[in-house]
């Protein structure tokens, strides 16, 4: 799985970071950084929850 973030939609609420800090980090500049764009399957549940709970629906998973 590959993480895709629509940065035009992202409002840096940091919900994703609260759920999957291994993958998402909102830094001091208030921007979201994807730490691991192709996380392992063991993180899938957390990533899917991040996708579902993003208030802006800015995250998606590409399977390629």
């Amino acid at each position: 799985m590959r993480i895709v973030v629509d940065f035009d939609l992202c409002e840096s609420n940091a919900i994703c970071m609260g759920i999957a800090p291994e993958v998402f980090e909102v830094r001091d500049d208030d921007f979201l950084y994807v730490l691991d764009e192709t996380p392992g399957e063991e993180l899938r549940a957390k990533v899917e929850e991040s996708v579902r709970r993003c208030p802006k629906q800015a995250i998606s998973i590409a399977e390629d």
């Binding site: 001091d28 993003c54 208030p55």
Partner: protein
Amino acid sequence: MVEAEDRVPGDRPPLSKQVLAGDWTPEEARLPVQVDELEVDWELGRRATGLDLVERRLRLDDGRSVPFDGLVIATGASPRRLPGAEGLAGVHVLRTLEDCLAIRSDLDASPGRVVVVGAGFIGSEVAATCRQQGHEVAVVEALPVPMERIVGTDLGSLSADLHRDHGVQVRLGVGVEAIEGGDRVERLCLSDGSVVDADVVVVGIGVTPATGWLEGSGLAIDNGVVCDETLLAAPGVVAAGDIARWPNARFGEVMRVEHWENALDQGAAAARRLLAGDGPGERFEPVPWFWSDQYDRKIQLAGRSGPNDEVRIVHGTVEERRFVALFGRGGRVVGVLGVNRPRHVMQWRRRIIEAMTWEDGLALAAEEEAAAG
């Protein structure tokens, strides 16, 4: 799915921001679910008018009654209105897409003065959006310190200060005595005897849980539908969202939460409770969280906070409008307020989930500040 609005529900937060500003089309304000994949029968534009718990039937406004095995009550809340404004054009509340588009259309037609009544989060977002669109904006709030009940006196002026930073006139501690005009609103008469001219008025003075249709049903109603710790209101009946009032065991507090994320989580929890049937069910004990975007500031609050809590600013300053404040109660960290500090808010939210003590919280905050230099 019985829905009073005549369309499949959308996402509400953008209605006071992107859609109101005209930056997004209504279609872009979607819910984070594929509504058409739900495989439910929709009854759109249809209201529930009564509930019979003995016969287990729901009465609808077209006279039909529908049998059910399980019922999820999620009728939400209705915005409070100002008395005396009935039939006066240009006076709005903001709850539905229809409300949003009506305000939008008024703003487009008469780019005059907008008066927002109520400096809560909805009112403040509307004021910010209108101001950023170039309108002259005034905010009228009955409380002397708008957010005092939520964050105490020291931080309670935060959104009023943000408005003033952006050239919005803010009138605190004054109520609205009368709304006057011909066909359209022209002015508001305030409790201190002053008059404020208005071309468009948006009223954001809170909501009332939409429980009217449940009167006489036998369900306990008290500022919402009263549920147990698992969201069960009666056998086979659960409630979720703005309407549900339940004891959150984590905080030892009966609460009703009107925020976006809670609606999402509580809906899922209520469904699980319903499916658990006669089983014990799981307690629903979230650490609530919400955000409000006003101008270039993001206000986030996680957990609980009140005027009697201990409050400590652990990062940044109120003056720079970029800070983190902790709330302590009963020896524990119970809440965190952040302005443009989303990372900190989410870190502290985790610590609230872990039941961090107030003492440990302050020590950790001091350590982190020292490390950050």
